[in-house]
Symmetry: C2
Subunit: 170 residues, 2 copies
């Protein structure tokens, strides 16, 4: 059951995947974005085992993506509400959806289309550079050691080959 922890790798993809844990977690978040808040409603719409759902919700609460909020006193009942950190995950799901729509739809086309209510059009997500606004494509982005890169790894030849020297030591 216990697996290698990727949480301490100097990589935001590894850390995020460590947090997600498995493929149920993004779907629990998807439901939360559709407005689902209660255990039984998550369970009904995803059809996953109650103990699996309990563990996933607990993880999302511990990690600060969902907050457990009481909505009834006797008996005490809780619902799960997205935090800022959780709501900020929405663009990741949109990027996943765009890829899945393009590559995993059958001949009929995507199962669900998305309407952007701010502009009124059917939309698909595009992942762009925050600076120039152009789509970020493979091969056009280079990783460099950031401020949180661990010093003990920074001198390793394979690390320097991948990222170059630290910009501040160049």
């Amino acid at each position: 059951m216990k697996r290698t922890s990727l949480a301490h790798w100097p990589c935001s993809i590894a850390r995020t995947m460590d947090l997600l844990g498995d493929w149920w977690t993004p779907l629990v978040l998807r439901e939360a974005f559709y407005g689902v808040r209660r255990f039984d409603d998550f369970q009904h719409s995803l059809g996953l085992a109650r103990n699996t759902l309990t563990v996933r919700l607990q993880r999302l609460v511990e990690e600060g993506l969902l907050e457990r909020v009481p909505y009834q006193q006797r008996p005490e009942r809780f619902e799960y509400v997205l935090t800022d950190k959780g709501r900020d995950f929405y663009p990741v799901l949109m990027a996943l959806t765009a890829w899945g729509d393009r590559w995993l739809s059958g001949p009929q086309g995507p199962p669900v289309t998305l309407r952007h209510e701010e502009c009124g059009h059917t939309t698909s997500a595009v992942v762009v550079c925050e600076h120039c606004g152009e789509p970020l494509k493979a091969g056009a982005v280079r990783g460099e050691m950031g401020p949180g890169f661990p010093e003990r790894l920074a001198q390793r030849p394979d690390v320097r080959e991948r990222f170059g020297a630290r910009p501040d030591s160049a």
Copy 2:
């Protein structure tokens, strides 16, 4: 070991997560984007068990994200090269990275920073509407039944409550 298959759900997130399988798969893709092509190099940089890596690479080949290409005859040796479908996954990793950089970095900041070589600036991914170019935020996007939505589900009250009636039958 075998789990519920999400591949046939009418949801591109579920289908994509089904394909990813677990948290190693995006990291195998990350390595491919860093230019890694050979089994031993994937194994060295990720440090995962050889049998786990074999299964992940095989899945990515079956699903058409990587192609297995011979690079040596005797003995025959193969390397794993990104296909168009695989390269198109890059924006998803960029969106994951941006979220992880914002929410999972320690006080020092992100481990790796990204330079967009086309504009020369340090960048972070923004997920925008393909139509109006504005960031796609939670609450501003509504799902509607798309052309590939299964007819057998389209009349269910919970489905109609979530997505409304089919646009073409409205």
